[in-house]
């Protein structure tokens, strides 16, 4: 599990969440800067998925493969689905969906890390 990729995702997600909370307080809808940031996170997640699968295939440690890969894929799905679901309603609630989606990624990443460390289902 690449610690730098994990740190990058968590750091960027943290920034995104602060940004989205500011939008929520100001009652503004998310614009290009927010979506670009989310796209960058998605890109890092994509790299992480590839690196993660390669690392899984070469590790000698006992990691639950099914679980690990499903979390890698799950983390990839959260932001695109969240963004689409959010864009269908350009309101405060729509922006709130982005916050929940980003938070979901953070939760999945933390769990991914513990699965890599050997945790089970």
């Amino acid at each position: 599990m690449n610690v730098w990729l994990l740190a990058a995702v968590l750091g960027l997600a943290g920034v995104a969440m602060v940004l989205i909370v500011v939008l929520l307080i100001r009652n503004e809808t998310a614009g290009d800067p927010t979506f670009v940031l989310l796209a960058v996170i998605e890109l890092v997640l994509l790299v992480q998925a590839v690196v993660g699968v390669v690392a899984l295939s070469s590790t000698s440690r006992n990691v639950s493969g099914v679980l690990f890969v499903s979390y890698l894929v799950g983390a990839l799905c959260a932001l695109p689905i969240g963004a689409l679901w959010s864009l269908a309603e350009r309101s405060r609630a729509g922006t709130g969906v982005l916050l929940v989606a980003t938070f979901t990624v953070v939760a999945l990443e933390l769990r991914l890390d513990s699965i890599w460390a050997g945790a089970g289902a």
Binding site: S64, V66, G74, A88, V97, V100
Partner: protein, 137 residues
């Protein structure tokens, strides 16, 4: 309101709720399938309850998306099942630890999921209560 696309239950705060329920539907389904598939014998009761939780989340998500009086009613029932489930399993997992050798979505009141499984049914019932007059139409 024929001019409004989609269900009223899935717009406004309901939109956030649907996303949250969707996440838990996927999480609970995935977890119970992995647990039952890899080592069903380790904790059959815990894993079966995990699957029940998954079905309840799926039903709730679907009903919120559909909208309408019948979906509203089923969603209310699903939220109640969820509330009873998380309270019962949460309590049992502390009292009768032997029954739950492995963790599930509902064990320890959803501790492994930041206690969201405990909060979610309250949010769901609050939102459905808000829409009681229109019954999700």
């Amino acid at each position: 309101m024929p001019d409004q696309p989609g269900s009223r239950l899935a717009s406004g705060p309901g939109r956030i709720l649907v996303f949250g329920y969707g996440v838990f539907a996927v999480a609970a389904t995935g977890r119970s399938l992995v647990q039952l598939g890899l080592h069903a014998d380790r904790a059959p009761l815990a894993y079966s309850l995990s699957l029940v939780a998954a079905v309840v989340y799926l039903v709730a998500t679907t009903c919120l998306l559909l909208g309408g009086p019948r979906a509203w009613l089923i969603a209310v029932a699903a939220c109640f099942v969820e509330l009873v489930g998380v309270l019962a399993v949460g309590t049992l997992s502390y009292v009768v630890t032997d029954w739950f050798p492995d963790k599930t979505v509902w064990s320890h009141f959803g501790q492994g999921y930041g206690y969201f499984p405990l909060v979610l049914p309250f949010l769901g019932l609050w939102w459905l209560g808000n829409n009681a007059s229109t019954r999700g139409r």
